[in-house]
């Protein structure tokens, strides 16, 4: 019999042939930042924790969130959410409701009493934190996580800063605020209330007692309108107004209140006054639709029958018999180059008058820098600080409103976090978190939307207007668990692998192995470098990297 085994019949599989030599690039699995993450002031790993919500792992989501932000329940309520503005899903249908999901996780943590773990080891060094607002609390939290001893000095009778004294309860329930602060202090922060660090000497003394100091005393000085007599009884300071108990708020305001300003504080004042039963008008320089306050706040204010007079400014005020006449003029408003800068040009002949009983200017606050003169240098209206938030005095770091014009709560939380890590890098470089690598952002073009169905966002329900105006209860109602799951499923998980196996299934060369929780592995013997896995990745968490070794 002839030997027919060799030339006619195959006798080995093609795995004998190494086709990986064909390639010039190799897929690289790398979670890269999503636009929401890059936009987030605390750099919270949004795609990751939403992924945990998708899987029903709320606790895991909380742990991920709390790595960068100890206030998910607060941020979920009041964050100005640049993440949502940046969200890639906007291109398909509608942004993912990130804040409402964050609130869902934050509320669950409070409901379940999930606390923060004790630090792995107590460290000898101590850090003083001056100011118990969002920046200070955030720094204290991160420093305690490392194990530093933390002394927190707060001038007022309770912690929270602007979150407590500036944001009304209908936006941020006090139990939530207290709960999230208590979780931080429970980590072993040495809290000193009613303890004002009043001047540069006191600060310098603190610096000597501690290995580092973090200064986050906020912006306590109201900006003033030159056309307004602040001594008059019908002028009320907005910060004082918001901080006051309801009975005092009532006592200070007449029937018709004019609020001057278009920011969040102005909205808070206006809506608080509405809840006191006042008629409220808001006067803003910015035209309608361009107010610096969050759109949702403006919308809700409008629903609450607050009247907006936008694109106008006060020229003079005349107190009359029981009422005040405010002479106003329309203006052309244009934004300046720097954030917060602007220019207004009065429109001749557009004068008009308003008649009200109380005027509450809410046009912003400035930091009090005089206190630190001689110790800390300033840059314009804020304390000068480097990239690591260190001031001109080594070992003194600063953040929040005292060191930045970024005035949103979450921005302050982010600054506190960054400073804490910078302090850790200075005091305990071995354990400090490294400065994160700069990675390319995963844009919409890297999301394969073939794997997504268009599906509108699930919005939080709002309390009926009539009901809102009778209480200071929260307006925005939380998502149910089902709604949260559904909303979380809308997240593209930009830049974060969701283990969908597309890369595995779409490889024509069977060159990708599934490693369960450890993701995937590319077999360099067979990968031809076509990039199909990258093209079909729904999350943009793979990219092709040049491969010279093939």
């Amino acid at each position: 019999m002839n030997d027919l085994t060799s030339p006619l019949w195959t006798n080995l599989t093609s795995r004998e042939r190494i086709t990986g030599t064909w390639r010039s690039a190799l897929p690289n699995y790398q979670n890269q930042p999503s636009p929401c993450l890059n936009a987030c002031p605390v750099n919270g790993r949004i795609a990751e924790w939403i992924g945990q919500v998708k899987k029903g792992d709320t606790k895991g989501a909380f742990v991920t969130l709390a790595d960068n932000n100890p206030f998910p329940a607060i941020a979920g309520r009041i964050c100005h959410h640049p993440c949502e503005t940046a969200c890639n899903r906007n291109e398909l249908d509608e942004t993912v409701g990130i804040c409402s999901l964050e609130r869902f996780v934050g509320d669950a943590a409070l409901d379940q009493g999930w606390g923060f773990p004790a630090p792995p080891a107590e460290l000898a060094q101590s850090v003083a934190v001056v100011g118990g607002g969002p920046a200070g609390l955030s720094a204290a939290y991160q420093l305690r996580r490392y194990g530093f001893r933390v002394s927190l000095y707060e001038s007022k009778s309770a912690l929270g800063g602007l979150m407590r004294w500036g944001i009304p309860a209908y936006r941020l329930e006090r139990a939530v605020l207290d709960g999230e602060i208590a979780r931080i202090t429970a980590m072993g922060v040495d809290v000193h209330l009613n303890a004002e660090v009043g001047d540069a000497d006191a600060l310098a003394a603190l610096r000597r007692e501690h290995d580092a100091v973090y200064l986050a005393t906020g912006a306590s000085l109201p900006k003033k309108l030159p056309t307004l007599d602040y001594a008059a009884g019908w002028v009320v300071d907005s910060a004082e107004f918001l901080a006051a108990p309801a009975d005092q708020q009532s006592a200070r305001t007449g029937d018709h209140v004019l609020v001057i300003g278009g920011g969040s504080a102005a909205m808070d004042v206006a809506r608080t006054a509405r809840r006191l039963g006042r008629t409220v008008t808001v006067l803003t320089l910015e035209p309608e639709g361009s107010l610096p306050a969050q759109k949702v706040e403006v919308d809700e204010a409008a629903e609450e029958a607050i009247r907006f007079v936008s694109g106008a400014m006060l020229q003079s005020a005349e107190a009359g018999d029981g009422a005040v006449t405010l002479n106003c003029i329309r203006v052309a408003f244009s934004k300046g180059e720097r954030p917060g800068a602007f220019r207004v040009d009065p429109v001749a002949g557009s004068e008009f008058a308003l008649s009200v009983h109380t005027v509450i200017p809410a046009i912003g606050q400035d930091a009090d820098l005089q206190r630190w003169a001689g110790l800390l240098e300033a840059t314009g209206p804020v304390i000068a600080a480097g990239k690591d938030w260190q001031t001109s005095t080594p070992g003194i770091y600063a953040g929040g409103d005292v060191a930045s014009m970024a005035r949103f709560v979450t921005q302050a939380v982010g600054m506190g976090k960054e400073a804490a890590h910078a302090i850790a890098r200075a005091l305990a470089p071995d354990i400090a978190r490294a400065v994160p690598a700069e990675l390319p952002e995963v844009g919409y073009d890297r999301i394969n939307i073939a794997y997504q169905e268009p599906h509108g966002r699930t919005h939080q329900r709002l309390t009926e207007v009539a009901e809102r105006l009778t209480t200071f209860d929260e307006v925005q109602q939380p998502l149910s668990a089902d709604e949260a799951k559904s909303e979380a499923d809308r997240c593209f998980s930009c830049g974060s692998c969701i283990y969908c196996d597309n890369c595995y299934f779409y490889c024509p060369d069977m060159a990708i192995a599934r490693l369960g929780e450890n993701g995937y592995e590319v077999d360099p013997d067979y990968c031809k470098g076509c990039g199909l896995c990258v093209a079909e990745c729904p999350t943009g968490s793979i990219h092709m990297a040049k491969d010279d070794n093939a």
């Binding site: 019999m1 002839n2 030997d3 027919l4 085994t5 030339p7 006619l8 195959t10 006798n11």
Partner: protein
Amino acid sequence: MNAPANIETRQLLNGNHAVAWGVRLAKPDVTPVYPITPQTPILEKLIEFQSEGKFAAELLTPESEHSAMAACIAASATGARVFTATSSQGLLLMHELLHFAAGARAPIVMFNVNRTPASPWGFWPDQIDSLSQRDTGWVQLYSESPQDSLDTVIQAFRIAEGSMLPVMINHDAFYVSHSVEPVSVPAPGLIDEFLPRVERPMQLDTGAGQSLGAPIGQASWNRTRREMAAAMETVPGLTEAAASGWRAMTGRGGGVLEAYRMTGAEVVVLTMGSMAGTARDAVDRLRDEGIAAGLLKLRLFRPFPADELRAALAGVPCTIVLDRNYSPGMGGVLHQEAKAALYGTVGAPRMHGLLAGVGGVNVDVATIARLVRDYRNADPSPDAVWVE
């Protein structure tokens, strides 16, 4: 020479029906066939056997001979015993797959009824259809009579399965395919014993998963032809063994070459197919006239039995080749092949190549006797000669 009555029955059969009987006894697993005159009676008879429950093969009736042969090759590659039949145009349509079958070492047995190829159209006995397939790698056998056809088709499976080469048996249109004679049909049990199932070295096997005929490099392709050459070398021996086994069982039949009255022959007629029967009578007539004539019937044409031919013609002064075929530009195919086989051998006979009966023209006993008389002392010509 008659077979014992208990193992064979005598039936009046035409050549095609005799083939069908042989196939029935050989029990192929798959039989793809396409009708063509004058092969069709083979197909019809097999279908008749099947309808009677006497023939269990999977019968496939595809749309062309090409597909029939494709199915044969594929079926054979699974290890099945496969038979098909065709003629002329059908065989020519298969041409691509004839190469393929041999290359794939598919031991298919095919019966071809030799018929003139078009154009012009004709339905007459002529062997150029099969002879023009001589380079495809098929073993070719030529049958003289219905009995020969029955006997040979069964032996062909032994040769095919022994060499892993496809085998084509040919008989002439009408002269054999449609002429009726008493044919001895062996009992089925006899054939089962003669034709045991052979274990294939390789087949399409779901367990092993090895593929057949995948693209291959030059050296390996070259090797496939060397292996075919080696297989071809075994065929004369296999043919002789099958023939002697058959003779032992039935008392009938020749092997590679069949010699008739070769003792002391001074002129030998060399031919194939039905012409051999006529030539046999002519030889008798010439012997009666005192001319020492003999006959060599070539049964195995491919591989060409050069050694056997040289031995048979050793010392014979003159050979007359009768070709019922014409290769334009060269002459009779058998003449060419015989010349090539004998070229350079010591004492090779003078050889005349006569184109007799091309296109089915009748060549009777008297004609052959006349041709022998005319050419036995003539000077040899290297070229073929058209004769009447």
